[in-house]
């Protein structure tokens, strides 16, 4: 079929932030009635692209042609008025205003006297929302609604503003399966009405259920575009992650030696059926002493949440964690730390370091009570511990009294590792330990993880760097949409099998350990996923 004239055409879009080339010469074309998947891993440039399209940022180079005219939006409001609406992951409406006021914000119907016409507003709001499967009293304040319903209001608002293009940034992250279905039916209706949709999500099932075309971004560049049906899941995942299928496993790219000997058979960490609403659905992981277990999966698959749930930083609705035979009280970080669990958080700057305090104070932070008597800190003992770790981890600071906020990312990460190693932990949860640090520091951290495992520590490793994950882990547990979809051990720990498992394909000629029967390409991705989670959870 001959496609109608394009509604949005983006050519050669580039954007540089200090130190980062966020978007590099990207093209994107949208036709009326097209549902377009925009995908990519963290830092690929999706958010930047959306922000350029909606007037949040200005491009450094390139053109945006909307409905045949070159445009340059100064604000999101301008973009919205022109016909490009966006709904975000987090609802960005006004919680204290009524549902109807939110729906009509900025375009309220007026009476003859220029006053707000509440009667008409309420009536129309009710109709609009019913069409989206939301039945609520539109006079209630928005915050009285559940998150899903709020999301639908945001969607209804975006659509009702006579948009020609609707951008949805992970719209399903807080929706229930039933609400996802409603969302899909709304998207289909938009398509029938000739509206173009840009759909951003990490949930492959959803993409295949609702999208026609796809653009894959990686490191700020467009690496693929075309019809989604022409690209199977495995190819999609490999394109996203930048790995060729069947590529020979490269040795020696990382500092991992690769082999560990899990001493003892009894796991030191046993996490069973961890469930967190909207985040995790019955995740189970075990790690033995001396073993490095990788957590694989795409962004948003629940890796970080699993680590946080184990460390008590994220309250679980069900499931339990046993460390060295002792069950943990859920939702308590101090309890987990006492039991020997240490978490190196993903967001180093805001959740890891205490930027205003010195290297010394940061290293001693968690272990301080052990270096104190009657609440008084023994400075000599602190000095001993701090000096030991600065030397052992080769932390480069002008002095132990330098503020941690002034160090490089790699040295900050080492300080955090020192903070935990000083606690003499049994289990180390490393969430993206090498992200954003320079090559030298990265190698050092990888080598250190190896050494720690050799010494009998149980390590759970999360990394978006496939090489790191494959070479560093003895076993890899693969997550998808908050559930375990497979586990790779021994020879199966390869990029190939990992990507196949992520994509939901059983590796050819091989039986993956616990593939969990998750191959169905069902539109109701959540239902299928839930079953899979239950099965996997039993294992």
């Amino acid at each position: 079929m001959a496609p109608p004239a394009e509604v949005l055409a983006v050519r050669g879009l580039s954007k540089t932030f200090p130190g980062v080339r966020a978007l590099d010469d990207v093209d994107l074309t949208l036709h009326p009635g097209e549902v377009h998947a925009l995908i990519g891993e963290n830092g690929a440039g999706k958010s930047t692209l959306i922000k350029l399209l909606t007037g949040v940022h200005r491009p450094d180079a390139g053109d945006i042609v909307f409905q045949g005219r070159a445009v340059s939006f100064a604000t999101p409001l301008e973009a919205q008025k022109a016909g490009i609406s966006t709904i975000y992951q987090e609802v960005n409406l006004i919680p204290l205003l009524s549902v109807a006021r939110n729906l009509f914000l900025g375009r309220e119907p007026r009476t003859r006297f220029g006053l707000l016409d509440f009667a008409r507003m309420h009536e129309e709001a009710g109709e609009t929302l019913r069409a989206h499967g939301v039945r609520v009293d539109v006079r209630l304040p928005l915050r009285a609604l559940g998150v899903g319903a709020q999301q639908m209001v945001a969607l209804a608002r975006a659509v009702a503003t006579e948009a020609r293009v609707v951008i949805m940034d992970e719209p399903t992250s807080s929706l229930e399966p039933r609400e996802v279905e409603t969302l899909f039916s709304v998207i289909r209706r938009l398509r029938d009405d000739g509206i173009a949709v840009v759909y951003v999500s990490h949930r492959l099932d959803e993409l295949y259920a609702v999208c026609d075309t796809v653009t894959v971004l990686r490191d700020g560049r467009r690496v693929h575009h075309g019809r989604l049906a022409d690209l199977d899941r495995l190819s999609l995942v490999s394109t996203m992650l930048g790995r060729e299928l069947g590529e020979v496993r490269k040795e020696g790219l990382t500092k991992f030696t690769g082999d560990h000997h899990a001493s003892g058979t009894r796991p030191v960490l046993e996490a069973r059926d961890l469930t967190v609403p909207h985040r995790l659905r019955g995740v189970s992981v075990t790690v033995r002493p001396g073993e490095v277990v990788g957590l694989g999966g795409l962004l948003g698959s629940g890796r970080t949440e699993t680590a946080k749930a184990i460390s008590g930083a994220l309250a679980t609705s069900s499931g339990r964690v046993v460390v060295a035979g002792v069950p943990l009280r859920g939702g308590s970080t101090p309890a987990a730390i006492r039991a020997g669990v240490s978490l190196l958080p993903e967001d180093r700057k805001s959740e890891g370091i205490v930027p205003g305090l010195s290297v010394r104070e940061n290293i001693a932070l968690a272990v301080l009570p052990r270096l104190s008597r009657f609440g008084l800190v023994s400075e000599a003992r602190v000095d001993r511990v701090v000096d030991t770790f600065i030397e052992r981890l080769r932390i480069k600071a002008s002095s132990p009294h330098q503020k941690v906020g002034e160090l490089s990312g790699g040295n900050q990460q080492k300080v955090l590792l020192a903070r935990w190693l000083a606690m003499n932990p049994k289990v180390l949860l490393l969430d993206e330990p090498t992200r954003g640090i320079d090559v030298g520091a990265k190698a050092e951290v990888q080598k250190l993880v190896d050494e720690l495992a050799e010494d009998g520590l149980a390590v759970l490793l999360i990394s978006s760097d496939l090489e790191e994950l494959i070479e560093g882990s003895d076993r890899v547990v693969v997550l998808k949409d908050g559930a375990v979809v497979g586990e790779l051990a021994g020879d199966e720990v390869t990029e190939d099998t990992l990507m196949r498992t992520i994509a939901g394909h059983a590796p050819a000629g091989r039986t993956a350990v616990r593939p969990a029967g998750h191959t169905a390409v069902a539109p109701a991705g959540h239902t299928a996923g839930a079953t899979a989670a239950e099965e996997a959870g039993d294992g």
């Binding site: 967190v276 985040r279 949440e305 946080k308 994220l314 309250a315 939702g331 970080t333």
Partner: protein, 366 residues
Amino acid sequence: MQRTTHRSPLLARPVIVAMAAAVALTATSCAKSEDDASAGGKSPSAAADAGQKVASPKPGGKTCTIDAYGGEKLDLEGATVGFSQSEKEANPFRIAETQSIKDEAAKRGVKLLTANAQSQFSKQISDVQDLLAKGADLLVIAPLNSDGWDPVLQAAAAKKVPIVTIDRKINATACEDYVSFIASDFVEQGRRAADLMIEATGGKGEVAILLGAAGNNVTTERTKGFKDRVAEKAPGLKVVFEQTGDFAREKGQQVTEQLIQSKPGIKGIYAENDEMGLGAVAALKGAGKKAGDVEIVTVDGTRNAVQGIVDGWITGVVESNPRFGPLAFETLDAFTQGKEVAQDIIIEDGAYDASNAERDLGRAYH
């Protein structure tokens, strides 16, 4: 991202409330202040109040009669009088004021309805409307504000209820919207304080003023009266220091401490209320001065200050009379009998000095 804490908000709130309530209960049930042992003499009885003179009307002042006002004569005895107090009875002045009204009503056999606006003007308006609804034949009002009385005045006029306002005037027409206004003359109080100061110092030397709260008409009028009289009668007396003590004892103490450091030759301190004067006494004591080293004159006439005269620390106290009861009822009585009453009545303020302080200590309000 998720909140990483899990809290128990449902638990915390009731616990705090319960705790606070328990604490408050315990506190009052087993409290024991210093005075409990020797109770008595503490209750603000106005037994010694009897005498009260009218300083005004001056001959030729405007007057009002029931015929001019509109209304019917009635016998005050057996009538119902409503009294609306403006502020909580938490300071000596308000306590004595309310008490004086109550005592006088009891004495005359009048049925008294009272209300307290707790410093909220909207409450005072509804208070007065309530009093009218409950059948008050006459009203005595201690207004919180001067303005905003129209709704009440209309309601009272419709019922032909005579109104007397005390201690603060309302902006309305006398003998039309209300009958009379009874109050102290703050400028006169300042003048009399000046007289006491001039007498004590011999009209020569340097004196200081502890001002009241800024922007308050009482402060400005008491200052004006004092300065005018000093300029007129004793040019040798110089006001060299004027700082605010906010009508509070602690502030009076702090300012006086600075004063006696920087101006050790100061001869007298005029405090625009008793509390600041007592603060000044505390400062002088703390600095090792002896009673009588610095002459202190204050305004108000609370018992603590009069006791200060007896002890020799305070030279004189000009009274700001809070006992409006007798005068208010006298005015209402005369008015309802059809006699002529003055529109502006100035209540006579007493004064205390070494000659009468000990004798009249019981008269001072508490």
